[in-house]
Point group: C2
């Protein structure tokens, strides 16, 4: 069976998404730190998506998908596979609409994440931590429930939702030269591209990636998607590969992809906790790590930094590791 | 020598303070959490003073004192004794005005706090960790420098400055029933009393105190100041006693003082980090601990909670203690 032609979400889709999800998300604050500005030589504006109720920007795309369903489909609910914030956020959005949400999660996913999905009313089905098991279990769950599949990032509704974040960032700041965000599957970056390519095409979009999971950077340089099998990085939200839809945005609108080492990521995470005084995931620290590492590139610039999520295990902070 | 009669700052002093300090402080955001609301049965509004640049509400009172000095006094600078956030914040404010700041700190004060004072341009003079040494060293420093003494809390300029926090909180929220804040020396609570007794006298003011440093609660019940010698609590900002000026506000305007155990404070701190996703000091967790412990008192109410500061040692978090 041939895939349907890919639908590329438009700026109007993003505007419609914002109207649709506004009652269900927070307009998160933009925080600044004179001290971090001094350290980097740049003027940084942190868009704090970790302060969304379920703790991640993914509530935007998930809410857009959930609240965009017609009544017939909504009755059957939604379904996805994810070990991370997309599972939480889709459950949260489905819970707000009062419809079923089925999530396939690997047995090895953190208990705290499974608990959060259930707290929001989602149903967890466990699979083995392999792609084949996940696909098999997910196909069965979807067949049994009829739930609408909402991919964590390779979905036009999700990307249109994520694009609302940089729309708000542009409303909350003035004269940005650069927006930077972490890149994993590319959902946030694609939403950023979608919005800024129309709203503010003069703003550079720089993606930040862990050295140890640098498939997006290598894809960007090679001109086609390179997917790694099982990269290992402390930035656990960024292990997944680009897909066709996110590759479209990355290849067309991203100015550059820069990388940072594990050590640089942990250091950037710690100084953000210390000076910005927010709780955020290792993934969110990759942009600051990249800014600190490429001072000449960012100094003197006004830089928007998307802080993507804040669901961390407070008993296992990376600088505590013995 | 007889003390001068005590000057009680007025609502107009608070308004003047706000105009004076506005360029030097942040209008900090008010954050909410549906999950913490569910846990407490109340509707909570967290005024995040930990997000001030130097990380504490004390920048308000310190800035009011510093920017209120006339030119002659300003040339000689300011001086104080403090092992905590007041030292940081006074140095920060003095640095912004470009005037000297001398701080007497006990040798035993955390190195990170001394470093922060110096980073802001303050001059640290160390004393022994005793009241007699502190007073002796401070008298010498003040005589040598001529710096204007700015007490951490028993100072009308400082209290008027702290009062600007609840003014903003009232502007940022609607229909509050209660405002709660931690109490140590009583600076924040006094500022809250100063502002709300005029602006919103129907709002109850409830102070929150560690059981292990409950001198304010006992003073409140006894009707006169009781000062303990050296209370020990993880809420290290709250060890100091009330003084005449803060006692004036506490005894006249506070509805109640409630206490929480060390264990309850640490638990409340951890759930705030987890669900509100901010970095805050143990002292700031006392109000939430008190709300969780006295559910019947707060359930169904709209409650403003002042998050007082966010300068913590990330290598020594209390739930990590072995």
């Amino acid at each position: 069976m041939k895939d349907a032609p890919m639908y590329i979400p438009t700026y109007e889709d993003m505007l419609a998404a914002h109207d649709r999800i506004r009652p269900h998300i927070r307009r998160t604050p933009v925080l600044t730190s004179d001290h971090l500005d001094d350290l980097t030589g740049a003027k940084l504006f942190f868009k704090c998506e970790n302060l969304q109720e379920p703790g991640a920007f993914k509530v935007r795309g998930a809410s857009n998908a959930v609240f965009g369903l017609d009544e017939d489909q909504a009755r059957l609910g939604v379904a996805t596979h994810s070990s991370g914030n997309h599972a939480l956020c889709l459950s949260y959005a489905a819970g707000r609409r009062g419809i079923p949400c089925n999530v396939v999660m690997p047995k090895t996913a953190p208990q705290a994440k499974k608990d959060a999905v259930r707290r929001y009313g989602g149903q967890v089905t466990e699979c083995e931590p392999s792609t084949s098991s996940r696909e098999e279990v997910f196909a069965r769950v979807q067949q049994e429930t009829g739930g609408e599949f909402v991919h964590p990032y390779n979905d036009p509704r999700v990307i249109a939702g994520q694009g609302t974040c940089s729309k708000e960032l542009m409303e909350q700041t003035e004269g940005l030269d650069i927006v930077t965000a972490p890149i994993g599957g590319g959902g946030m970056i694609s939403g950023t591209c979608l919005t800024l390519s129309t709203l503010a095409p003069e703003v550079q979009i720089i993606a930040a990636e862990p050295e140890q999971a640098d498939d997006a950077m290598r894809s960007f340089k090679a001109g086609h998607i390179i997917a790694d099998d099982a990269p290992e990085t402390i930035a656990d939200g960024l292990k997944v590969p680009l897909k066709d839809l996110t590759w479209h945005f990355v290849s067309n609108h991203v100015s550059d992809i820069l990388t940072a080492s594990e050590e640089e990521i942990v250091e950037a995470m710690k100084i953000t906790w210390k000076y910005l005084r927010i709780v955020m995931e290792p993934s969110c620290a990759v942009p600051l790590a990249v800014i600190l590492k490429n001072r000449e590139r960012f100094a003197g610039k006004r830089v928007g930094v998307v802080v993507t999520g804040g669901n961390v295990d407070l008993d296992r902070l990376p600088w505590m590791a013995g």
